[in-house]
Symmetry: C2
């Protein structure tokens, strides 16, 4: 096993063995300005130090700029065209059902986490929501993998740790809370201090980012919390690499009312009631904070309808940034064609895409809608607490280059 | 003159005579979220009421999303392809000089303000900076037109008012200050209360928006100030119509360092030192708050260089959203071809365009750069303190529809 410790190759990318523990953090919905504004407000002194002594970059996330496609890209180092997870669910045309993609059976590429664990590294994965856990923990050997959401239900056999709840010293947080993310850091810090794993992957939830704009009190409080944990993790001698799955934007007019393009209503009018089927891949069991409204959608058309004509009409709708036929859209965004509809639609920065007016429950929106999914949310921060060298700035950096930079490019 | 008072036609659009005083306000750099967040923070109770009793819309600004092209579109009701003002300056190829477009000689369309003044309306125009004054006041008959910046130098002969400074009860504000905008409202309120003009056009400066993100203390303080003046103007029985010339975005990484694409450096490398000439139409005499860095640029190429090849290379630069040859870019953004270069470049939301690394003085940037100019800053609020009816939502609203809605569509 000595040879294996020089480097591990996963999906054709070689990663050097870590010289100290590596913590990769995906801060859900962390538009870069959240950190900039928190630093400016004095709420994130460690992040300011980290940017100064280390490396601050921007990178492109995967579009659709949603949580699962990006977390899976980060841990595999490849786009959804390769790993297959292009949303929270897809429509299975043969069975006529909408299928959740939380089962690792849908994952088409191995993860860097599993690759290192097979080579003998001790790997810890902690997520806020449980939906990501099974995908991120896939094929982990002797690792620990659990979610804050179900921290009270962990077992050594399934999660590699008994009673994860006790690790954090916190009570089990609510799914819709800032504490769900805080739990991830509290448990991670405890595990780093006690077990010193080789790789730790921490993934938060964007409950706060969906509510609070960069620099506002709720947002600064979140980054202040994050900042204190990062300082302690740094003090333990770990490499810290931080990025995000996507950014976040206000999706409202000045009054605070959401700008929604109801795609199913439009398609119903053009080609008949329910002739097409609109899929909103942001949808998952937890939609209260965004009403299942994001800026990316795909639609399946009935036989005989020309996708090109529909694309032209969709692209002309106010608030639509671009529409594509399947092949063109999948090429543009590196998505798997067999899991996308006949047309792909991206909304502009201030707009979101819905199905029909009566199908979206907006009663959970207590504050003006902020959301993501489009190209307007593709730019994310990428920070390291050590200096990076030899990065090729002539190409676009991706958030899924983070393991490459963290393991191969830090001084 | 009775017949004229039914409607006034300017640039092929007919505007009904106002039934009460009309105040059109262009809040420079007012990304919609500034208002949303100010309302949420309780800093803008009148704007909240205004949205409730009146109308809240979003509209597309002109790209380049800069101050002069948009203010001129708003007061003419047409895009720059018609009125000619496509930036703060353009490059005159024949003379080899860069020409400021603050002289009305460059304006190719009449203004709605001048049209109504010729029909007998009393018109008042107040701007923050002086650079807009001559253009906005062009061909005004018996009107008042002055800037806060030079309020101490007004004369009845030139500006239609002696000693405009006394109107506001304020001392002359600094050019780089929030007070420069406050002066516009203070003077406007005094004129509305004392002279009750038929049309008042108020245009602020984006000094605050370049510094402070939506919902942060400095921004909320600005909108709180604005809010108090709007309430008083409403109480005087005026129709209030509010929009913006452009939005505003953070143009930095998480650390707060600006993301700059140095176009002249790139072109120098590709086709030789100073063979091309990059024009940044944001540049004007006041650049300390943005370092002349915006998200829109045009470049003139030497004879013999294929624009198509350069466009392909420019479009591939990380941070560039799109690049166009002149004709395509002018068609896309409705710009006058004779005042644009051979290629047109738009930067992404988090990036700005510069000339050469050594030509931008960033010492005036005391806070992380926020700027505008691209399509990411094209969405702006459009608010009315009365209900609008009969608006065609199947087409994109433009900020330069504001006089049409204010005069033709309000109940």
């Amino acid at each position: 096993m000595i040879a294996a410790k020089h480097s591990v190759t996963v999906n054709d990318r070689a990663y050097r063995w870590m010289d100290r523990p590596l913590i990769v953090i995906c801060v859900d919905g962390s538009e870069p300005d959240y950190i900039t504004q928190a630093i400016r407000a004095g709420a994130a002194p460690y992040l300011q130090e980290m940017c100064g002594k280390g490396t601050s970059l921007l990178a492109d996330a995967v579009v659709p700029s949603f949580t699962n496609p990006n977390n899976l890209s980060i841990v595999t180092g490849v786009p959804p065209a390769v790993h297959g997870i292009c949303g929270n669910y897809f429509y299975d045309r043969e069975t006529g059902t909408e299928v959740m993609m939380t089962d690792p059976a849908y994952l088409r590429a191995g993860t860097i986490l599993a690759g290192f664990s097979h080579a003998g590294a001790k790997v810890v994965v902690i997520t806020a929501k449980d939906k990501l856990c099974r995908l991120l923990g896939h094929q982990l050997e002797n690792g620990i993998c659990f979610s804050a959401e179900k921290a009270d239900q962990t077992t050594m056999a399934v999660n590699g740790v008994d009673d994860a709840l006790a690790l954090s010293g916190m009570v089990l947080p609510a799914v819709y809370s800032s504490q769900l993310s805080e739990f991830v850091f509290a448990a991670g810090l405890k595990l780093m201090a006690t077990q010193r794993p080789d790789i730790m992957y921490l993934s938060t939830t964007d409950y706060v980012q969906h509510k609070d704009a960069p620099g506002t009190p709720g947002a600064n409080a979140f980054y202040s919390m994050l900042d204190a944990y990062l300082r302690q993790l740094d003090a333990l001698g770990a490499t810290i690499a931080l990025t995000a799955d996507h950014g976040m934007n206000a999706k409202t007019d000045a009054k605070g009312d959401p700008n929604i393009i109801f795609l199913q209503d439009a398609l119903d009018e053009w080609i008949g009631k329910n002739a097409a089927r609109v899929i909103l891949p942001i949808t998952d069991p937890y939609v209260a904070h965004h009403g299942a409204l994001g800026s990316f959608a795909t639609a399946y058309l009935p036989a005989g309808v020309q996708a090109g004509n529909i694309v032209t009409r969709l692209a002309a709708l106010p608030g639509v940034e671009a529409a594509y036929e399947r092949a063109a859209g999948c090429r543009r965004f590196e998505l798997p064609e067999d899991r996308m509809g006949d047309v792909i639609i991206v909304a502009e920065r201030h707009s979101v895409l819905g199905t029909t007016r009566d199908r979206h429950d907006l009663s959970g929106l207590e504050v003006p809608l902020r959301s993501h999914g489009g190209t307007a949310e593709k730019t994310v921060p990428m920070l390291f607490n050590r200096r990076a060298v030899g990065i090729d700035f002539s190409r676009r950096l991706r958030n899924f280059d983070i393991f490459d930079i963290a393991l191969n490019r830090l001084q």
